[in-house]
Subunit: 337 residues, 2 copies
DNA sequence: ACGTTTCGAGAAAACGCTTTCTCAGGATTC
DNA sequence: GAATCCTGAGAAAGCGTTTTCTCGAAACGT
């Protein structure tokens, strides 16, 4: 086309001109190619330094066919869990010279496919974080997104590594813990219906129920936020449960706060557990008993899987499951007589 | 060069071939150029749909000279404040079809210049968030980063809008609030020395001190994390202050937690204030009195400024100051006799 | 001293697009 | 009916790199 030649920024041509060599030679020097005369190389480096030349990454990406960037799509950037994954991913990727592009679907599952596709095209790989889309759509989308790694979701597409947290196991351990403390009436304050991790918790509780016929276990509708927990106080109290398994730490904290306002003592009157062990969990009053998920590490791991995929186009299939670790703190205890 | 022609992905050439037209026509159709015969346009669209063609954004970026991406560099992605800014920015930018690339300097100020430069080259604009670098370096860097907007920092470079929170005013209001409650011995648990916002708070407290000669105000060394607050308990108690202005909500929460462990009652024995009004602040026990900063909105505003800069290469200089709003909750009160 | 390798650097193609330039063919005008 | 104006689409240039091709010159061996 030829809008205006000699755009504002200085390019490889300017350096070449100044050093009295060709584009090609400048490129070779900038990329540490040693088939260039040391004296000339130095002249090029001087010219580059003097002009403060920095190669244009877009041109580079086009020529090289890679962007040194990966994308992550999350359902909600306000959620501490996704923030932590993003952080782990970003730190780990930065270590290897990769940047990360974020996309937030705002829990709108119909946006996910579009965002994921766009991000993927701009990047060398993708991390799809707890997608809310249906299984069928995920199956269909997966091949076109490769290389990609899934978090808290899986697919039959064999090239897609899947990193999952064993919510089923975690919630069972929390429930067991309550039983050990003598609780026989337990309530589960559930998460969003679309959430796969909520379904996993449900499945875990089914197992628990089968193993403990004597324990009464009620399911309560809920959500994933503070507000959910805060608003659920009445329902929880009405249920008569003495132990409550909140969907996650946020919900547990909202509940804690609501109970405190009502003058209900924790854990004397009622025990509360969370899930995730977000940084704040240990600083609530009382500190929250929860199932610790190594979230940041999960983000790190996601990068390592993705890196493998990007490097060897054929990386080994992988299915990692992260086991939550029971973190017993002050929000659970035996019922005070 | 000619590595292998016909890379895996399908490109504009494939569509052109299938539709029996030239590259140019496909491009025109894809970009909604109406100088194309409707019948041919339809043929192209059909071919594109059938091949599931999506233009390669890198090629597009190179030709168009824009990436539809902006960068943000933050000192620490673990900090809720920066997370909120990122979120506000990301949501607002997405609304206009822009993506965001993140860079975390991990509080290493020497990394900032490099990260900022790299991000800027890959993007159409940059948000530099509370940079830790020195004033001189910031001055020097600013022109090369344009278009850029600064958060919680300013520069003499006129083209750089600067969005600042009036920490000075906020901390004064918090201090006044404590005085109104009858406190005459106050401590400030300071933040990181390199932080410009900490210096702003210090300046505010100098004014406060001048206006209230009768009030005793002590400065305590601190930091910006939970741990800082938690570890400062002894020092705070030793100071004899009955009102504590914590650097931010995180520090305040750590302090709250530490005091609770010691059996010190808040606010009966000591009043605590935070700063920022992070989402968790209202759910502590007692809920935290703090100065609410509209952080997410700040991120949004950053996008709007940056957008203006990107659109008109010559946007009006701008200096926005955000006023914190006093949020009085349960962590402050009169001293119990 | 001459043919053969080796070496180093420039020319040019390629990456995948957008857009200007150009030009054939049909519509319009006198 | 010929000169002129549109219209629409292909050819080609350009975005800023990297890399292959190519080729002159220097180095080598006999």
């Amino acid at each position: 086309m030829g809008r205006r030649t000699g755009s504002g920024r200085i390019g490889i041509a300017d350096v070449a001109l100044k050093a009295g060599v060709s584009h090609a030679t400048v490129s070779r020097v900038m990329n540490g190619n040693f088939t260039v005369d040391p004296a000339i190389a130095q002249r090029v480096r001087d010219a580059a330094a003097e002009l403060n030349y920095q190669p244009n990454p877009v041109g580079r990406s086009l020529a090289l066919g890679k962007t040194d960037t990966i994308g992550i799509v999350v359902p909600d950037l306000a959620n501490p869990t996704f923030q932590a994954i993003l952080r782990g991913l970003s730190m780990a990727a930065a270590q290897d010279g990769y940047r990360v592009l974020i996309a937030d679907s705002s829990e709108v599952s119909s946006e996910e496919a579009i965002l994921a596709g766009e991000a993927r095209r701009r990047c060398d790989g993708l991390v799809l974080c707890a997608p809310r889309m249906g299984d069928a759509e995920l199956e269909e989308l997966a091949p076109s997104l490769h290389p990609m790694v899934l978090i808290n979701r899986s697919t039959t597409e064999s090239r897609v590594p899947s990193l999952e947290v064993d919510y089923s196991q975690g919630v069972q351990e929390l429930a067991e813990h309550l039983v050990d403390l003598g609780h026989t009436s337990i309530a589960f304050l559930a998460g969003p219906a679309r959430s796969a991790s909520n379904r996993a918790r449900m499945a875990g509780l089914d197992k628990f129920r089968a193993a403990h016929p004597g324990v009464e276990l009620r399911m309560l509708e809920g959500g994933s936020s503070f507000e959910t927990g805060h608003e659920a106080v009445d329902e929880v109290l009405a249920s008569g449960a003495t132990g409550v398994l909140a969907f996650n730490d946020l919900v547990a904290m909202g509940l804690l706060s609501g109970l405190h306002e009502r003058g209900v003592r924790v854990p004397e009157d009622i025990s509360i557990t969370g899930f995730d062990d977000i940084p704040f969990a240990r600083y609530t009053t009382p500190p929250l008993t929860t199932a610790a998920v190594p979230i940041t590490e999960l983000g790190e791991h996601a990068w390592h899987s993705l890196r493998a995929l990007i490097r060897n186009a054929e990386a080994p299939e992988e299915e990692s499951t992260f086991q939550p670790r029971l973190e017993i703190r002050g929000s659970t205890g035996p019922l005070a007589k």
